[in-house]
Structures are given as structure tokens and as C-alpha cells.
Amino acid sequence: MPISYWQAIVLGLLQGFSELFPISSLGHSVILPQLLGWNIHQNDSYFITFLVATHLATALVLLGFFWSDWVRIFRGLGRSLRDREIAPDDTDAKLGWLLVVGTIPAGLLGLLLEHKLRTVFASAQSASFFLMINGLLLFGAEALRRRAPQPEHGDPDGRVARRVSWRDAFGVGSIQAAALVPGISRSGVTMGGGLLVGLSNEDAARFAFLLATPIIGAAAALKLPELFGSQGNGVRGPALVGALCAAVTAYFSVRFLMRFFETNRLTPFAAYCLAAGLACTLYFLV
């Protein structure tokens, strides 16, 4: 069996929380097997199949966690399409189209660059280096933020819809593509982008999670045939176990992070990425 059940549990738990914490799940899933001496590599077809299952579980957890938001967003999208305009007070419709505008560039860049970037930056050494870069990006986003961190009141979706412009959504969506490089965190760059366009930490996290749901879900759905095809032979059992573990940690992670960012910053994650990236870079160099 290419991935044992024990490895599936560890990698599933890791994937579930590192996908949502701004610390790069892909980077960790490249680095950890190397650190533990496991014969698992990022470009192995069975490992990609395994990751599909864990990503799908994470996307479903995100969808479930923000279910009421998504229902409102889809109703808003429907209203705006019917009326052929986005009413100025319809924040659900505005947020829905902001997510579409942010998802299109991320999806296009992902579709076109994913394979090339995954091939070029597949090593644990490069993932460690980019984990350091991720730490610097998070520090930079906190330093250059437009708003002071403070608790906010009222409808969070409405706040995001009012503060984010179309251009901002396009920019924040586009930088998600940076997360195709192992070591760079999708949620990290989108939260950082959110801070740079004037969102609070809480709203930036919410916008990042809403933006991540269609991308993670679509990327997983696109590769779902591999899980159920011949490529999934021998890995479906561990993939299911890994997916369940990822779902559990993803749920607790999103719950924790939404509370954490009400009053806290990205700084602890930036420090972790910088320290862990530096330590792993030195370890792999020696």
C-alpha cells in the first residue's frame, strides 16, 4: 500500500488545519514526509489522489460552516441576474460577484500553471524556502495594512461587500495563484491581500475562506475521477480515512480562526513560517 493508514491519519490531520491556517498545507505536505523519512513525494500519482480526497473534505467543511452565507450569496446572485443590476443596498449580491471576480483569475491561473509550478517547485528544500517567504509576506501584510486591528460590529458579509472594490477582488483573487508554489499559503496571501485593501483581520479571514471554497472544491472535483479510477486503486481506503481526519481538523480550525481573528493578527503565523522555514532549509542543506 503506497500510503499506510497511520500516514493517512497524520497527513489528513495536517492537511485539514494547515489548509486554513495561513501556513501552507501544500508546503507542509511536501516537507513533513521528507522530515519523517516517508517515501511519499508530491508528484506521485497516488499522493495527488490522496490530496484530492482531503481537499474535497476541507472544501465541504468550509461550505457547511458558511452555509447560511452561501445561501444568501446565491440568492443575491440570482436577484442581480434577474434584475440585471446589483442594487446598491444588496450586499449579498455584491459579495457574490466579488467572489466570482476573485475566483475567475485564481481558477484560470490555477488551471494553466498548476502542473508547471508543481513540477518546478516539488522539492522539500524549495518548499522550506518558500515557507520563509510566506512568513515575510504575512509580516509585510500586517505592516502595510490600511486599518488598525479592532473588533467590528454588524453584518460581516456586508462589511466585506462595502469595503472591497472590484479591482481589489480581482487582485486578491489573482494572488491566490501564488499558493500553487508549495510553501506559500493560499489563505495567508488572501488574508494578507484583504488587510492591504482595508479589511480587518476578521473580515479578511472570512473573505479568504469564502474565496477558498469554490477554488479548493473545484480543484478537487476536477481530479475526482482519478480517485475513483484505476489511479485510486490501493489508496481509496487511506484517502477516505485522511479525508475524515482533514474534515475534523478543518472544522475546528475554521471555528478557531474566525474567533482568533476577531482580536488577533497574522503575526504569530508569520513568525512560525519564518522560523519553521528557516529551520527546515538549514536541515535540508546540512
Binding site: S80, D83, R84, E85, V100, I104, L108, L111
Partner: protein, 80 residues
């Protein structure tokens, strides 16, 4: 007004063209794609499904843009 209409027609034409290109990507192997399309590769039987999805999404975005842009001006209620 004239410029708006031109933009709408441009978005419709580009949107439809991209959706046609998406279908070509899905239906034809890389060797049969026109040489001017990205992904053309002589002798390859690979289907560029992802290129097709990308073209389809872009085409859909163009059509949605045209749908909103072509709506006439809305009367606003005086009461506020």
C-alpha cells in the same frame, strides 16, 4: 451610449468564441487543435480539458458582463 453598445457586442462575440474554443478543446486531441491555439502538439492524443474549462469560464464571464451592461437605465424610487 454608442460605446456601451459596442462593448456589449464585443463581449457577446468574444464570449461565444471562447465557448466554441472550449468545446474544441474538449472534443479534439492536441494533435487536431488549430496550430494557433495554445496546447497544439503534433502527434499528441492528449485532451486539454483544463484549457477548455479556462476558455469556458472566460466566455461565461464575458456573457455575464454583456448581460449586466446591456440592461437599460433603472428608474429609482424617489422615497428614501
Amino acid at each position: 451610449m454608442q460605446r456601451d453598445r459596442l462593448l456589449v457586442w464585443l463581449a457577446v462575440v468574444v464570449g461565444l468564441a471562447l465557448i466554441v474554443i472550449a468545446i474544441v478543446y474538449w472534443a479534439e486531441p492536441a494533435k487536431s487543435l488549430p496550430s494557433w491555439l495554445p496546447g497544439h502538439e503534433a502527434g499528441s492524443n492528449h485532451h486539454h480539458v483544463k484549457h477548455g474549462i479556462a476558455a469556458f469560464l472566460l466566455g461565461l464571464a464575458c456573457l455575464v458582463f454583456a448581460w449586466f451592461r446591456s440592461a437599460g437605465p433603472r428608474p429609482r424610487s424617489a422615497a428614501a
